[in-house]
């Protein structure tokens, strides 16, 4: 048995981070799903409401953002923030807090568009490191020829290039101990930086870096625009002027979350351009 056949490819390996990270991510997922569940079917025996869980989720996610560099989990976090962002439109028990439907639809559209753009950017980020798209029409060509297969058979070219699944642009980036442990485990501590890997790569005849810049900037700007919609709608309802801090914290967090996500993406990518 070839040992390499037992090692899962990089995108799948992201599903099994270290135990502390897994537990933390599971806690966040439960908080998020719990907020949706309590929104749909509140528990009579529990005084906890969906808003409170959503707030806890946002605090946990935003505090963990500096360490989120995975190309799989980053889009997932963006999607989750869009879903949670829809809560102020629906959880307003007081009619004054509910925002108009057209604003809600606009926020959701922009939020999801940004999430989709980021997801495609992540896919391009991932594959562009390990190969390029041939202009002669041969599709994706991996940089390294496959070496771990039986004679006469070719392994999938796309999985053999082993690109990195993290947004670590330079070797001296500030990494958290948890992430360092994760990268050591995957054995890619000595890999070249993402910028080096993307040098000279072409996508549709355009340098891949430029395509990535366009995609990420679009995602970032659209996310900011979605936050702006939310801020405007909540400001118009004077939500931020609520007499109690508790009433204002939730909407404020929801409005700030897309801004912080956009900022985090920009900080992640600052070394690339």
């Amino acid at each position: 048995m070839e040992a390499v056949d037992r090692v899962l490819p990089e995108p799948l390996r992201q599903l099994g981070p270290s135990l502390p990270l897994t537990l933390f991510a599971l806690l966040l997922a439960w908080l998020f799903l719990g907020s949706l569940l309590l929104r749909l079917a509140p528990l009579a025996s529990l005084s906890l409401r969906g808003d409170a869980l959503a707030r806890l989720f946002l605090v946990g996610l935003l505090s963990a953002l500096p360490w989120v560099r995975s190309l799989l989990w980053l889009p997932l976090a963006w999607f989750a923030v869009t879903w949670v962002g829809s809560l102020p439109y629906v959880t307003g028990r007081a009619a004054a807090l509910a925002t108009p439907p057209h604003a809600a639809a606009r926020f959701l559209r922009r939020g999801l568009l940004a999430d989709g753009l980021l997801l495609l950017a992540c896919a391009l980020f991932f594959w562009a490191q390990g190969g390029t798209w041939s202009r002669a029409g041969s599709g994706y060509i991996a940089d390294m020829p496959p070496t771990t297969h039986a004679p006469g058979e070719s392994r999938a070219p796309v999985d053999s290039a082993l690109p990195v699944m993290r947004l670590s642009l330079s070797a001296d980036a500030v990494l958290a101990p948890l992430e360092r442990a994760s990268s050591d485990r995957s054995g890619d501590a000595d890999r070249p930086s993402l910028r080096t890997r993307l040098q000279g790569k072409i996508f549709f005849g355009i340098p891949t870096s430029a395509v990535l810049l366009a995609l990420c900037l679009s995602a970032l700007l659209v996310k900011l625009a979605s936050a702006e919609v939310l801020l405007r709608a909540l400001h118009a309802r004077q939500v931020f002027l609520s007499p109690t801090i508790r009433a204002a914290t939730g909407p404020l967090l929801l409005a700030l979350a897309p801004l912080l996500l956009a900022l985090h993406l920009w900080l992640c990518l600052r070394g690339l351009w």
Binding site: M1, P9, L36, L72, L76, S86, S138, A150, A156, V158
Partner: protein, 704 residues
Amino acid sequence: MSQRALPAAWPCIVTVLAVSLTCAATAHAAPKLEVSASTLRIPSGPHFAASSAVTLATEHKNTHLSAEITLFNRGDAALALHGLALSPDSAGFSVAESSLKSALAEPLPPHAQRSIRVQYQPTPGRQQAYGALLIYSNDPRDTDDPRTAERDFVRSVPLCAGESTLALWLWLAPLATGLLAALLWSLRQRRAASIRWATAGLLLLSGALPLFLLGYATHAFVRGFGVAQGNYGYQFLLQRVLAQSLPLTYHAGLDGLSLILAWSLELWAALRVASLLRSLWLPSCITQPDDRAPTARCLFAHTLLHSMALALLVSLDLVPLLFSLLVLHTAMGGLLPIRPRRIFTTVAVPSFFVFVAGLCFLAAHSQPTLLSSGGFVEHTTDLVKLSYQNYFADLPLLSAAGTGLWGRPIAPALYGLLALATLAPAIGLAVLCLRSPLSAASAPTCLLPVSSLVGFYLLVRVVAGLLPQAHSVLLPSLSAFSLFACAAAAFSSALRRTVRLEQRLPALPLLVPLSGALVGLASATATGTLAALLLLGSLCLSCTWLGQRLARLPRRTSCTPQHGTAHAPKNAPDAAESPESEALRVALLLFYAPPGTATFVGHALLALSAFAALRGVSVLYVALWLVSQYFALLWLRDQPIADKPPPPARSLHAGRALILASAIACFCVLPLFELGHTWSLDFISHTRHASAPPGPGFLAHRGR
């Protein structure tokens, strides 16, 4: 006169009889080879018992397992042994050199015997081996070897090491227990508590036994065991020739694909069995006949569906596979109401016959091969041999000498037909789900996961296995076509005004995972292929749970002539007002797949993995998924807020638990992926022909 003539004829009669008897005696003077065992079985484990037919011995020093077989000459003439050989697929077996020399040294005199020692050396990870010992002799009763020009007589003895019956029991156990449960439930004394308990116990067994066997199989499954390691990557193999003359064989085994899909199927079965068990204790079930209570026919159909789906997943021979498929479709029809059943039958029956015809055509053009019994067969139905030892890509429609259109290779057309035939029942059920109001969509929604799973399996195992070149070229187009069909179905569903949007299942969350599975397969990456399996597994959870919650909605009385679905009477309660509405909303949330659930992660993995090979298709897939998420968010926004929550039902708690368990599944899915990873690499190697482009390029830039 005759009385006088008879004594005179006596000497002639005696002479003729004597001559004929002498001739007959001369004709029978021939060697007659007999073998002490019809099959030489060598258990590969450390503990095995010697059978009466075969003498077994273990040489622990060399880790060789050996068995002796005795040859008898029951004839009147000497038996000349011309040679001993092993069939080509007898890797691991060998004939001991001493036996070989002594056996061929001199002829075997009449009524003598000679022993031959066959050795088996297990290789790491390979737990089973099958082959045949070929004995060439001058016994005229033996068959002639068709692979050689000269006339030689060969007797074959099947060799088998480490045979496992797990694949057989995997479907036989739920079949037996489920049928017993249905039989008990059909008794008239249904109200008796003992009958109910016995039925429930048997039903529970029918769900638990395959889970237990699958757990054992997962534990004993050798990770990293692929085609290169032997047995074409299959484990827990069982090969039996049921009828040599037909020839009818049973060949079963498990690999990463069938193991993961079997787990998904058991997820579906567990939910169904739990629902059936609950229904057995419905008050209406005990006191009066009610269509909500499970009938014996319902139990019977469920048992057949469950066990035949498992049988299909483990079957590696076309005849049992097609038989399982036929029974499975019949059982599905039995679980559907009358009108949807007619629609389903209209789709499933022609697709089945197209599938059978296509496979018969391919099997008829297969190469002669050896059966597991050692006998020769002109055309095989063995799925593995058809996949790996035949090349159907250049098969012309009429003949090799044909010209023009008819002489062209028909692999692409055949692939398209077979792929459509495999997916047609799932498509039919999806259409039924979308065209029915919520209260009537329960049965097709519950059956859709099984149908999709079976369709996907047949596409991968049979269609792509037999026609790998066509698969590599055509599947990207097929996946793109399915995405366009999704978009069209969602658009037409939104335009339909006969049934309100709130009273119908949303189209995109139902169809996008099914198309996504095809996209993942077309991506030709291990990640995409495994993510497709994850999507199918999570569909088994969400779709089945939703279907069961829909079954609890208030009943409708009359049927519409147009769609065969139900109209509500004017005073009937709306779905949103029923006591089960909260549980239904939670089931719909699971169905919509918010971030954090296994379905969502499957979608994200697919979008990431498909981008390299299928840029345009990947973008289209992401766009459809985003639209699906958009409508899910709008649905979430529109849900009313209950100020005073009603007392929660048990199903509501179960729905909440399933959603939270789906989040756990995201982090615990890696061991499942490890089971299928080697299979996915082998599948990609098999379907990627040297002449094919490195990446499928539909909608991607592909110039000449």
